[in-house]
């Protein structure tokens, strides 16, 4: 009896071992056992395909960017960018320790898995996150202390790294030292400036005179003075574009302020309920996109309309030239379709914020809410109340918004429960 049990036990162990061996073999054949290839910046395929760049032109853009910005392992910061190359070297490259034990490769350790090596928001985990990680390349940032059109300041970037973004997958990096956070903020600026330069270069092909060879000039004048300097200048101008914030009125009666804020929230000057809903649950609207997703939606539309037209065109009566054009169009549509498959995430609508949860992505200080209402949110549908709602009234709206998670107002839809459903 015991022997039988023993044998069964050995048999079970052996089959388990065999199973493990089988798994390892399968995994090894699937993943491979080679060294990781060096990291490289992926070109902005959506934009270069949309602009119908041919492979030589794509190559030229990649070469120019290599010259101006270097590689993920060896970044280069031209003087005009205003970036600190020492900080970039701390953040760039593979994760490794230097001789004194200082950890390098901070970006790859902490950020690249979501934001991608290129800062394009297409890291390996990006597809599983809601909201998607930020794509830095258009140079648009949502949560900052500057006017809508302007870049965030250094302090804004450090704040996001320090606090994370509540309600999203962006964690707080408060456990990192200040030096490391500053190095990461600098690297984010570097990736953003590189991304904006790439977009400008790709779009510049359309602006070329028709008799140009179809290549961009590789002169210092065009690349640095005309392309790079205006982009870097906007970053340097950010601190001067801070939103003017008047002090909160002295001796403010909070109850009266909240009541006034409620009036404004429901009123037709600020129109908050039109998107945030009469319940404040963010259900006033469900069909708008943020700027990043809008690009993909419009690309999708372009492909669909192009495919419909191409399939309806009858090749019978076409001249050889028209036939060649038609074929090129079909090839381009196929490429664009593949690019949207591999180089873009499925577009999602952007729901207005559910204000009953008390979770504010850009920060929950009254000042942060003031910034969001005054300038709106760049890249998102949230409009600016600047010029329409006077500053003291914005403070009243801020106070009302902060009271929303605690509002028990039977008048506001007695038939709806005051429980904020768990939504984004």
């Amino acid at each position: 009896m015991q022997l039988a049990n023993c044998l069964t036990e050995i048999g079970r162990q052996a089959s388990r071992l065999a199973f493990l061996l089988l798994c390892t073999l399968v995994l090894a054949s699937v993943i491979g056992c080679g060294a990781t290839p060096p990291a490289y910046f992926r070109p902005n395929m959506v934009e270069s395909t949309k602009q119908r760049l041919n492979p030589e032109q794509e190559r030229q853009v990649a070469t120019v960017l290599l010259a101006m910005f270097g590689t993920p392992d060896h970044p280069v910061a031209l003087a005009e960018t205003g970036l600190n190359e020492a900080k970039l070297h701390l953040a760039a490259g593979p994760v490794r320790s230097d001789i004194v034990g200082r950890k390098n490769g901070l970006y790859r350790e902490h950020c690249a898995h979501c934001h991608g090596i290129t800062g394009d928001g297409l890291g390996p985990t990006a597809a599983f996150l809601n909201p998607y990680p930020r794509d830095y390349r258009p140079g648009v940032f949502k949560f900052k202390s500057t006017e809508r059109a302007d870049k965030p300041t250094q302090a804004d970037l450090v704040r996001i790294l320090h606090n994370g973004i509540a309600g999203t997958s962006m964690p707080s990096f408060a456990l990192l030292s200040e030096t490391k956070i500053e190095a990461l903020a600098e690297y984010v600026k570097y990736l953003t400036i590189r991304g904006e330069t790439e977009l400008t270069l790709i779009r510049a092909f359309f602006e070329l005179d028709d008799d140009a060879k179809g290549t961009l000039p590789e002169t210092r004048e065009f690349l640095v003075e005309e392309t790079l300097t205006p982009i870097a200048a906007k970053w340097q101008a950010a601190p001067a574009a801070a939103i003017p914030v008047p002090p909160i009125p002295a001796n403010i009666d909070l109850v009266a302020s909240i009541a006034k804020g409620r009036e404004l929230f429901y009123g037709d000057k600020a129109n908050c309920v039109k998107c945030h809903g009469v319940t404040g649950l963010g259900d006033g609207q469900a069909n708008d996109y943020d700027d990043w997703n809008k690009v993909i939606v419009e690309a999708d539309k372009e492909i669909r309309s192009g495919t419909e037209q191409a399939s309806q065109a009858s090749t019978a009566g076409m001249s050889p030239e028209q036939l060649a054009d038609h074929r090129l169009q079909l090839v381009w549509l196929e490429k664009f379709h593949q690019v949207l498959d591999g180089d873009a995430l499925t577009p999602r609508t952007i729901p207005p914020r559910n204000l009953r949860q008390g979770i504010y992505r850009g920060g929950r200080r009254p000042l942060d809410l003031y910034y969001r209402i005054y300038a709106g949110i760049n890249g998102a549908p949230m409009p600016a109340a600047k010029g329409t709602v006077p500053p003291e009234d914005i403070w009243h709206i801020v106070n009302y918004v902060r009271s929303l998670p605690y509002e028990f107002d039977g008048e506001l839809g007695a038939d709806r429960p005051m429980v904020a459903p768990n939504r984004f």
Binding site: A67, M68, D268, Q309, V389
Partner: protein, 280 residues
């Protein structure tokens, strides 16, 4: 090897490392005297001329598409009015194609050095922008107005101007930079609302009217002017309208060239826009 686990991304060309080295050497070297490589566009003439033309649509323009109006219907669908998609407006009588934009890509001189201070009115009523294509000069004030009993916001893409416009009020916007091709203007509260805006430094922009005609006045005479043509539904790159007009040197990028004599009114005649260059 890995099959089906990783999305297949298109192959991208590799950068040329040697060429990149050379480019970096030129970029890092001390700045050459700016302007040395480009001569200022020599203005070769005096006087001003006018350009006229007419866009006619050839073919079937398709059924008119209604817009999905699902908000504030007591204002936006007032009296049973149905808002329709205005992306392809063909006049049934004359076959004129409206809202084609023609602008000068580069002009060496401008008749009026500074933009006019009279604001251009850009209004919205019954949940529709009254001007489908707004053309203005950089620095010219635009009165973004709201004549509806409900609030709107006006979002000019690419300009980061996105502001609330309360009912019965307006806000003044001064474009600070020129758009390349026209850019979209939307309302986020009523997402079906759409218009386009084009701002140019020299102000040489014209938008074709209901009958398809356009007029560009006070263009500098005595030089070759290249004009860019755009339509919202065009299949061309970035909306450029490429037509078959070799006598005007019309390119697939939607550009053509003219040269005017002083006080000349040049009429380039009818420009046929076939249905094949218009997307769905």
């Amino acid at each position: 090897m890995a099959v089906g686990c990783v999305p297949q991304r298109v192959a991208t060309p590799l950068a040329d490392a040697e060429v990149a080295q050379k480019i970096r050497a030129t970029l890092v070297s001390a700045a050459s005297a700016s302007g040395s490589t480009r001569e200022a566009a020599a203005s070769t003439g005096t006087g001003w001329g006018t350009l006229k033309g007419r866009f006619l649509f050839v073919g079937v323009s398709g059924a008119v598409r209604p817009l999905a109006v699902d908000k504030d219907t007591e204002v936006c669908s007032k009296g049973g009015m149905k808002l329709v998609d205005r992306s392809l407006l063909v006049d049934p009588a004359t076959k004129g194609l409206a809202n084609v934009v023609v602008f000068a890509r580069k002009a060496s001189r401008v008749k009026n050095a500074s933009p006019s201070t009279t604001p251009v009115v850009f209004d919205q009523k019954q949940c529709e922008f009254l001007t489908p294509v707004l053309a203005a000069r950089v620095g010219q004030p635009i009165d973004v107005h709201n004549s509806d009993p409900i609030g709107h916001n006006t979002n000019i893409a690419g300009s980061s101007f996105n502001q609330l416009v309360p009912s019965g009020q307006g806000t003044v916007y001064k474009p600070e930079s020129e758009t390349g091709m026209p850019t979209a203007v939307t309302c986020n509260i009523h997402p079906w609302m759409k218009a386009y805006a084009v701002f140019r430094k020299d102000g040489y922009v014209a938008v074709s009217g209901v009958d398809g005609t356009f007029t560009l006045a006070d263009l500098p005479a005595g030089e070759i002017i290249e004009l860019q043509v755009w339509h919202e539904r065009s299949n061309g790159p970035n909306g450029a309208l490429g037509l078959e007009k070799p006598d005007l040197k019309w390119t697939p990028k939607g550009r053509f060239q003219i040269q005017l004599q002083p006080d000349e009114v040049k009429d380039i005649g009818t420009l046929d826009v076939p249905a094949s260059v218009i997307g769905t």
